[in-house]
């Protein structure tokens, strides 16, 4: 493999990795506060892409505003899902909330099929993203420049919220000890809703970047990015935000590099990520940055 092709793959891997990091944070934050795998997260991701699509086609909003509207709607959706499907089961056995999460994911997917239709739709790409830039011999699509920058900006904002504000402190307190946090006067419902909103907002940003990369949206588009991001969250150590960032980055890079270095195994790339997941769970279940 020549250096140029390697660099090209590297740029793809980095931008995909940033994308997974954005989505993985949603999983890890929800798991941190509720000890719940939010299976519906990948479907919030999918809904956000459709929100952009319909904001542009039906309400003919300009692209930038449509994205903003979609991010806000995704946050509202995430909060609604938490209120409807997870809050009533907070004191029920864990298995009930797991069922509820799986059911919610399936509900959203089927809702999307019925309302939006199962046929893939093409997603509008502003010219800059569709263009391919040639740097020396390396060809880099525009979206590969934007994705890491946007991701890093959002990750910095997130780090600020989680580590420097009172709400962030409340979130970290809840993830350490649910009951004590409540005794300390933390408003549980508000903090959990806030967590879901941040997670869903980041998923929406991820979805927009994803759709700019692969400009086709359909009801099951969230399933695979969702699972990869979830794998990333586990590899990084579920519950740890830093872990989700690093994990997402690793998974994105690995996905691209496996195909680049071992093209004969390209068909197995989906299985490969699950094999890694299983090995991580078996031998280091706390992940890279997780606590015991």
């Amino acid at each position: 493999m020549s250096l140029n092709i390697f660099l090209q793959n590297l740029s793809n891997g980095i931008s995909l990795g940033c994308l997974f990091a954005l989505v993985a944070i949603g999983y890890t934050m929800v798991y941190g506060v509720l000890r719940l795998i939010n299976f519906a997260h990948g479907d919030i991701f999918m809904m956000a892409a459709f929100f952009v699509f319909y904001a542009m086609t039906i309400f003919s909003l300009p692209w930038g505003i449509a994205c903003l509207v979609a991010i806000i709607l995704a946050m509202v959706l995430g909060r609604t899902i938490e209120r409807v499907a997870y809050k009533p089961l907070r004191n029920a056995p864990r298995i009930s909330s797991l069922c509820s999460a799986i059911g919610m994911s399936f509900l959203l997917e089927n809702f999307a099929i019925v309302v939006f239709g199962g046929r893939p739709k093409s997603f509008y790409r502003p010219e800059f993203f569709a263009k391919t830039f040639v740097l020396g011999e390396v060809r880099v699509p525009g979206v590969n420049f934007v994705t890491p920058i946007v991701s890093i900006v959002f990750l910095l904002i997130l780090s600020y919220i989680v580590y420097r504000t009172k709400t962030g402190l409340a979130m970290r307190a809840i993830s350490k000890d649910f009951d004590t946090a409540m005794l300390m006067g933390i408003n549980l419902d508000r903090t959990i809703s806030f967590t879901f909103m941040i997670g869903s907002g980041l998923a929406a940003v991820g979805a927009i970047l994803w759709a700019l990369r692969y400009p086709q949206i359909w009801p099951f588009m969230g399933v695979f990015p969702g699972w990869r991001a979830f794998t990333a969250a586990i590899i990084g150590g579920i519950g740890s935000i830093r872990g989700a960032m690093v994990g997402g980055f690793l998974v994105g890079l690995l996905t691209i590099m496996i195909v680049a270095f071992l093209p004969e195994l390209a068909g197995y790339k989906d299985a490969f990520i699950f094999v890694i997941l299983i090995f991580v769970l078996l031998f280091k279940p706390e992940g890279l940055f997780g606590e015991e």
Partner: protein, 353 residues
């Protein structure tokens, strides 16, 4: 008065005889469409009961049922297909040698399918059952995806994404209902044995169970392997019923249908699973009308594709949110239960008057 065990046994035998008579009549007289639905009822019961053993009775949340079904369906199909049929199917990449010439009767292929599936269940379960709750769910989901991807890529064994077409239709009511009855009987007896009590104790509290001397690893793997065995057979029957299989038949969607049956029926109730399994198969067909265009009094209503599964998803959410126990909770129906219910209520009426 029927107080003795023998009388209940007679009642049970009579029930099974009635079912056999029904199968006999149905297989001869009903049209193929109805028979197909009845077959699906039996297969869903097998799959539901086997998943309920793992998820409901042992409390280990598995999402890997589709993977075991895929193994069962492919293993059996590769064994019962005739060499000529295999040659027709594998026109791009030929099938590897010993498999390409083997053909064995359906019944043996079913048993081998179940055993292979159980073997894989052991290989997956032995390391993974150390994980708790949601982690196990993820690993088993990952396993079923790995199986799907493997089957898509191993072209010289599974014919890849092209799948196997024109499978001989061996599945009939005798097979599907017979095995369904066997599965229900087997798992019911397993549940009511000391094994079953150990499984339930693991579900209630695994630490306490271990302290009382229950071998956690052994019992978890046991339930997983038995569940995988019946899932494999269910998959094999389904393959021969629909007559064409490809790796994407056994996606997460398939597992999800079985999960719906188990949760709506009640985690930990065989009766609930049987009732909902049958209802599910029937409703899937009845609700097909929602998806096709209809006309009422000259008013044309276009069909809504995907509506069926949306209805089931909503139903599932209602059950999960408002009826935590499902249809039956962990109660079971039996002749004994019915008898005591009837006699006790009579006694109470007498005492009241």
């Amino acid at each position: 008065m029927i107080e003795k065990k023998k009388d209940f046994l007679l009642l049970k035998i009579a029930t099974i005889l009635i079912i056999i008579l029904f199968i006999f009549v149905a297989q001869r007289n009903f049209d193929t469409y109805v028979i197909r639905i009845l077959n699906l009822c039996g297969i869903y019961v097998i799959l539901g009961v086997s998943l309920n053993l793992i998820n409901g009775f042992t409390g280990q949340f598995s999402l890997g049922h589709a993977g075991f079904m895929a193994i069962g369906a492919y293993v059996s199909a590769l064994l019962y297909m005739s060499p000529e049929l295999k040659e027709v199917n594998y026109f791009i990449t030929p099938l590897i040698w010993p498999l390409s010439v083997i053909q064995i009767p359906f019944v043996f292929s079913l048993i081998i399918a179940g055993l292979v599936s159980a073997g894989v269940g052991f290989l997956v379960g032995a390391p993974c059952l150390r994980l708790r709750g949601d982690y196990l769910a993820i690993v088993t989901f990952g396993f079923s995806e790995i199986i799907r991807v493997l089957f898509c890529n191993l072209q010289n064994i599974t014919n890849g994404p092209l799948g196997l077409k024109g499978l001989p239709s061996y599945t009939n009511l005798w097979w599907s209902w017979g095995i369904a009855i066997f599965a229900v009987w087997f798992i019911k007896n397993l549940i009511n044995s000391s094994y079953g009590r150990a499984l339930k104790s693991i579900r209630e509290d695994d630490i306490a169970a271990e302290a009382m001397g229950v071998n956690l690893f052994y019992h978890k793997v046991l339930s997983f392997v038995v569940g995988a065995f019946f899932a494999g057979i269910g998959g094999a029957l389904l393959g021969s019923l629909v007559m064409t299989i490809d790796p994407n038949t056994f996606s997460f969607f398939m597992t999800f249908q079985i999960i719906i049956i188990v949760i709506v029926g009640g985690l930990g109730s065989i009766t609930g699973t049987v009732i909902v399994g049958v209802l599910f198969a029937v409703l899937m067909e009845v609700l097909r009308s929602v998806e096709s265009p209809m006309s009422f009094f000259g008013l044309n209503i276009p069909g809504i594709p995907g509506m069926r599964m949306l209805i089931f998803a909503i139903l599932l959410m209602i059950v999960v949110l408002f009826f935590h126990q499902g249809l039956m909770g962990n109660r079971e129906w039996s002749w004994e239960w019915l008898y005591y219910k009837l006699t006790r209520s009579k006694k109470e009426i007498k005492e009241g008057s």
